[in-house]
Every structure is written in structure tokens, then in C-alpha cells.
Amino acid sequence: MKVFLFIVLSGLMTFGAITFSQQDELQESISRGQEIYTDFCINCHMANGEGVENTFPPLANSDYLKNNQEASIRGIKYGQKGEITVNGVTYNGNMAPMGLSDDEVADVMNFINNSWGNSIKGMVTEEQVTTIKK
């Protein structure tokens, strides 16, 4: 009985530790991402991800972001040009590539995915960003 309890408990702890460290990793990525956001994104997409009406699309509660994670990553990595529709509004803007490294793109994606009411599941990793091509 004692052995059984021990096994169960240690199993739970290991599971807990793994979940916790993943959570930790995400949290760290988000906080690095926040710094990137404040430096590179905030002057157009604004402090609460609300964007600028008809000019810069919102990131907060954006259906585009939710349904187009890969295209969103590509947009940050290589720039975004041409028409996109966000929450029913069509934007035809031009976002220049920011010169961010793949780990920085992952961090800022994690920040955006988990801010201002967004909670998009799954952590964006540097490896994932690396695989996304123009």
C-alpha cells in the first residue's frame, strides 16, 4: 500500500513538475515577448492590441490571429502586405519585416496569443518559427 501510494505520488509530482515547467517556459517566453512588443509593435497595434481604426488591425480578440496562426507568424517574420480581413474589417496595409530573430518571433507571438483576452492554446516555439518559410 505504501509503495503504491509512493508510486502514485511521485508520478503525480513528475507530471506536475513537467506541466509546471512547460507553463514556466511559456510564462518566460510571454514576458520576453512583452518587451519585444513594446519595442517593435506598440506604436501601430497600440498598448492593448486594439490597433488603429481602419489602418492597423487589432490583435486583441482577432479572429484572423486565432484562425491563421501560421500566417500570423509568417507576417511577423517576413512582413505582411496586401488585403486581410480582421473581425469583418478589410485592411490593405503594409507591415515591414522587423528584423526579429526566430526566437523573438516566437516570444512575441506567445505574448500576443495570451494577452488582452486572447488565450490561444499551444506554445509557439523557435523551431516552429524556423520551419515557416516565405
Binding site: 513594446t38 519595442d39 517593435f40 506598440i42 506604436n43 501601430c44 497600440m46 498598448a47 488603429v52 489602418t55 512582413g79 502586405k81 496595409g93 503594409n94 515591414a96 519585416p97 522587423m98 528584423g99
Partner: protein, 385 residues
Amino acid sequence: MYLYTNKSMKMKQFTSLLAVLLFSFYSCAQQEPSEISAETPQKINYVTEVIVPELNIPWGMEFLPDGSILITEKTGTLIHFKDGAKTTIEGLPEVYVRGQGGLMDIKLHPDYENNGWIYFSYGSPEGEDEGGNTAIIRAKLNGNILADVEHLYKGVPNTKKGQHWGSRIEFDKEGYLYFSIGDRGNRDVNPQDITRDGGKIYRLHADGTIPNDNPFVDNADAKKAIFSFGHRNPQGMAMHPETGKIWVNEHGPKGGDEINVVEKGNNYGWPVISYGINYSGTKFTEITEKEGMEQPLFYWVPSIAPSGMAFVTSSNYPDWKDSVLVGSLKFEYLERLVIKDNKVSKREKLFEGLGRFRNIKQAPDGYLYAGVEGVGIVKIIPDSF
């Protein structure tokens, strides 16, 4: 009814309550908007025509004597547009593209026809630290190659920050070379410290040497190329056609963009005084003026995100006499400010919705040209209808 027995105490409490209330009103107060607001004109007697199509961020442009145009794309490409065709000019130093930085302004020497010098500002990774900072070079165009490159100035230290590279270049009537470097995202360290680069307007001789009457040449620790300081991010710069003074426009944070007339040794106050607030809505300063710090000629609240600046002197635009034009990146129009007695008396939104106006210049042919992001270079011509 009142529990207070002591009237003066009641009064005192009331006064302090009032003070607290007033104070909290004050700190939550809306920003004071610009004195003059921008209007949409009833009718504009000019239209735009795309001259150079398909450009991403045409940060700078210059007009060569043969009528061709040199264009700097922020991504690092120098384009020569001649007889309807674009040619890429090779030979630029390595450009560090990061955030707002990349290949930025271009300016011909006032005596270009005789000496051939072309000046550039760009994000340079040169140096030991990681990252980059604004650099100024000059070079000559030799066919499709940039030759005789001379490095004139490089801001230090390098940083991976993407913000505030400044980078406009202008000459005055006496042939001095002016350029800006923004605060490089280091607001509380760079702009008020004359021993550091960033948040400054610089003045050099055309060959890159430092004029011996620059304001801080006698200060052993100072960056001696500094002409004025306390700037945030000047992306517009033009010499006033009559006074010969250098005018700049600079981005504020949320509100607080400014036009400043640059004078030797002056402190323009960033970030000690400002009409702007943080993007988050919090304040970084309580004051908008202070002794020893200059007031702007004009400030924008809300911000228009100004870039590029041109005085209209050409007889092709009689409606726009006494005007200065400034591009708005944020609201995607060209702003016309009427200047009377060194004050802004009227503001107009021109060509609303055309795109992010990055740059505006009056070319030697007497026409105005604007660099619009994602659109190209447009020429502003009288509407013939």
C-alpha cells in the same frame, strides 16, 4: 446633523478633500489637444500621380540633375529610377535592418553637380557590440555602383532596440550638414546626456569634420558633433527657405509629436517635458515646460506620427503658400500646416487614405513628390479639371 464640532477642522478636511479630488482629476486628465485641429478641405486643387510604382517603404529620395530619382528602400535597397525603369545600385555598406531602422535617408550635397557627393543615413552594425546604431556616410554614384564611400559618423553604442533611429539629413545655406539620431529606445538615459549619442541633432562640415563653433566643443566629455539635444525621434527635417534655420518634426509617444526649430546648444526637453503620455496611458512626466528647455513651435495631440517635411515655395502651388507639409504615418494623409508669425494658424488633411506618407520633398523641377508606403513615389500636380 454634522458630527463636527470644530468648524475650522471641518473646513480643513473639506479643503484637503478638495485638494485630493482636484489632484486626482488632474492626474486622470485628458491630454490637452493641439491648439489647432486638422480639417478636411472642401476641395483640393491638386491630385497625385504615381511616378514610381511598387515600393515598400521609400524612406528617402533625391532628384538627380538628369531627372532621374534615387530612392532608399528601408529594407536596404538603393534604387535608381531612370526612364521608367528601376536599377539597384550596389556598393552600400552592410545595413542593419531592425524595427524602425534600415536604409533611411538620402541627400545630395548642395553642390552635387560639381562634386558628386551623396549622403546616406542607415542602421549600421559596425563596432563590437551586438545590434546597431545610426550611421552617416557619403559616396559617389559611378554607373550602377556606389563608389568612394566615406564614413562620416556612427552613433554608439550598438543596441538591439528597434526604436528611434532619427536619420533625416539636411544642409543649411552655409553648407553645414545636419542629421538626427533618435533616442534609440533609451529614453531616460540618452536624450539629456550630451556625452552620449541618441536624442540629438548633429552638425558637421560636409566632409564629416566637426565645426569648431559647435556648441559643446569645449566640453571634454561631450559628443562634439551635437548641435541640439533633448529630442525623441526626428524623422522630418527641412531648412526654412527664408531664415535658413533647420526645422524638424519628431514623433512623440502617445500624443506629443512636435515641430521644433533647431538652435545651437538648445535642449528640447525630451523626456523631462512632454505633451505626450506612455502608450499604456500612464504618465512619465507631469510637466510640459521648464526653464532652460525649449517649447515646440507646435505639438500634436493626438499623434499623427510625422515623417518627412517640406516647405512649399514653388509657384506651382499658389494655394499652399506659406505652408509646411508633413507626412502622417498614423492617419495616412499629408498634413498641410499654415505658418503665420512663427505659429501654426491652420491645419489641413490632404489626400486622406492614400497611405502612410513617409516622405515629402519639393524637387528642383518645382513639383512636390511624396514617398508613400506600399504605393510608391507620387507627384502632386494641379488638377486640370
